[in-house]
Symmetry: C2
Subunit: 417 residues, 2 copies
């Protein structure tokens, strides 16, 4: 299993091996293991964007809106069907994850007046903590941060013991951004909603990597990002999900003209569209939406079950090689060893992780990513990463650590996303 | 002046006539007079976007962020210097106009506790009214809508008489989206701020068409759109301006990770960046920012004073031909006749405006735009519209009205932006 020939056999037997050709991968190329920060460019996206810009914007100009108006719902429906386990009309693509999290959190808090606690994980992704903290402060509520296992992530019990009649809203990530731990969506949703609180899932590190069944879990609200495993491009618009039965009960706070019924009558006063439509705000990013749609089509053809199967095999190989080569060198596993409890990336912890990360980039031609204080995240992506790339990256990592290579610490270069 | 030869002479003498070549204008092409809804595609944008997608996203993937991080401030600084009369570090490009208006309005209201009235014009652009109405309702405030002259727009006196110790915030457009009336920014700002209220300008229909001097007017807050006269593309991100002296006094409500000091330390708790930086929210749209930057460079080379001079000459020609040809046919002028009181577009009113608008598009190969209930808006854009195009469009409009041509009313086709 530690032989390169083993990885070569896995590549040869990989039913998704042809999918790599759908992505722009210039040669010679570093081994790219940071697709959970920013996914690669699908070739179809480059073509679709060029056509959009040249033919639709350039050629049709404002008349392009005849087709563009439906993009937020149409791309949302594609995500719903292919990746989220949601019904048509339950997902739109709009704004950023940060803005959507804010909007759905406000809507949820308004639906639970009198309850004064917001729960999140202490190691939740920063923007989620900051947004919720700001909301809690502005409304005189308390943001309570749950201490959870740094490797295994949030357990149902962690949440259940914190629930009570005072809890208005629980916000958690399905896949933790550091450890990759996969939370039990169905069980946690049932516990939270059973206690009368609203549950809001952040799917940013999960969507496109693991199968998600929002309807099956009875989930009320979710947000997520499209520029990681969905390959939507840098700063691509995010999505939001609102369970159908809640859409006309909840009010989101940013009442924009794209949420108005009969938008171009431009009437008085605000009269929200029925359904998911009133969760739209301002003019949506057409370039961003078209880029997402092109990338999502490529992945949807492969299917999330096949992507997940390969992703699991890739991270299993990372862990096998960690155990054989890196554990003896002082690395610990920062992710669940059980693949059923893990998303699409693996965290390896080392006291000198930052300097090792820089050496990997600068001397070994591998692009991992670093998360303070001591984690190297490796995300081999099912759509375009080869098993031999995983083997080569782990081999280079082992060699440079054995050789004692580090890069001098320069905080100005710590900018990674 | 009503001869086509006059328009030909104006084209020949136009110092900006070469600028049209900087835009994608396929032939044969309708006469496009809707650049105040969606501006045309600059050729440089197509090239810049293709290079960004292929070389930066495709080639460098996540490492592209080394350069992209500074885009919101860098593009904001270009807008500040070239079009807004603001200092470096006072403008960022981020989110949509709707979201930015919401954020700055919340910040302003928090800075004026105890005051319970928000003022806006009754014919303000819909998203502004909806956002402010939602905010007022959520906070138990009153949105008071000022009746203003439908042609001449908001006057200083309209605002001054409505001010009082209860007014927290006044939000107005610099150029009205229907009439094109240009508000006196300096006088209104002085009146509002003199009465202790906060002033928030919406520059969407002004920026790139008329010179704006936010610093000179003493303006506190502004937002605006980049997809009209700035040619940023469909759904391009918007900008916001916060006067330097207020940046560390105000708190905007959506505390995202891009607003955090030392963002990639991902620390606890939220610790806002000093200056304009904490007005950033989630991951910015890189595609949108790059497109805006390319278009803004093209316009900045021409200079806003030259653009304004040509824009005024173009709308003066529209009005001269209206007076000669269309007033006798029952059209009234829906815009100020004084060019100093007018932005970049002209509204012509007619009881049958909608059906005439459709006939213009479908039978005369002219793209104007329609605003309910009775306005045809004509926006000849200095950067790319020829005087002869204005003449030809007005001539076709006259002929089809003289011939009694209308298009049967079909509300499903009333979708215009």
């Amino acid at each position: 299993m530690t032989e390169r020939a083993h990885a070569e056999r896995l590549d040869a037997a990989d039913p998704l091996r042809g999918l790599r050709a759908a992505f722009e991968i210039p040669e010679p190329e570093p081994i790219y293991l940071d697709g959970n920060s920013l996914g690669r460019l699908p070739k179809a996206t480059l073509e679709r964007l060029s056509a959009l810009v040249r033919d639709d914007w350039g050629g049709r100009v404002v008349r392009g809106w005849d087709a563009w108006m439906e993009l937020p719902v149409r791309v949302g429906d594609a995500l719903a069907a292919g990746f989220l386990g949601a019904r048509p009309g339950e997902v739109i693509v709009s704004d950023s994850t940060t803005v959507n999290l804010y909007r759905l959190a406000v809507a949820a808090l308004q639906a639970r007046p009198g309850r004064r606690v917001v729960l999140a994980a202490a190691d939740e992704f920063p923007t989620d903590r900051y947004v919720l903290g700001g909301l809690a402060e502005a409304r005189g509520l308390e943001l309570r941060l749950l201490e959870t296992d740094p490797v295994e992530g949030v357990a149902v019990g962690d949440v259940a013991t914190a629930l009570g009649p005072d809890v208005a809203l629980v916000c958690l990530s399905h896949v933790n951004y550091r450890s990759g731990a996969l939370a039990d969506m169905a069980a946690i949703t049932a516990a939270v909603q059973g206690a009368g609180a609203m549950m809001l899932w952040d799917l940013s590190h999960a969507v496109g990597a693991v199968p998600i069944d929002l309807n099956g879990a009875g989930a009320q609200l979710a947000v997520g990002c499209t520029y990681k495993y969905l390959n939507g491009g840098p700063g691509a618009p995010a999505f939001l999900y609102v369970r159908r039965e809640l859409q006309d009960v909840l009010r989101q706070p940013i009442q924009g003209w794209f949420g108005q019924r009969d938008q171009f009558a431009m009437g008085h006063p605000y009269d929200p569209q029925p359904g998911i439509g009133h969760f739209l705000t301002g003019t949506p990013s057409v370039l961003g939406l078209v880029a997402i749609e092109a990338g999502v089509e490529v992945l949807a053809r492969a299917g999330i079950e096949a992507l997940r199967a390969k992703s699991t095999a890739l991270t299993e190989l990372v862990i096998a090689l960690w155990r054989a080569w890196l554990e003896p060198l002082g690395f610990t596993l920062g992710s669940p060893a059980d693949p059923a409890r893990r998303g699409g990336h693996v965290a390896l912890r080392h006291p000198d992780a930052y300097r090792i990360d820089r050496a990997l980039v600068e001397r070994a031609n591998v692009v991992p990513d670093f998360r303070a204080p001591d984690r190297i995240r490796l995300a081999p992506v099912a759509a375009y990463t080869r098993f031999t790339e995983v083997w080569d990256a782990m081999d280079r990592l082992r060699r440079l650590v054995e050789a004692g290579e580090r890069v001098a610490l320069d905080p100005a270069r710590s900018r990674v996303t």
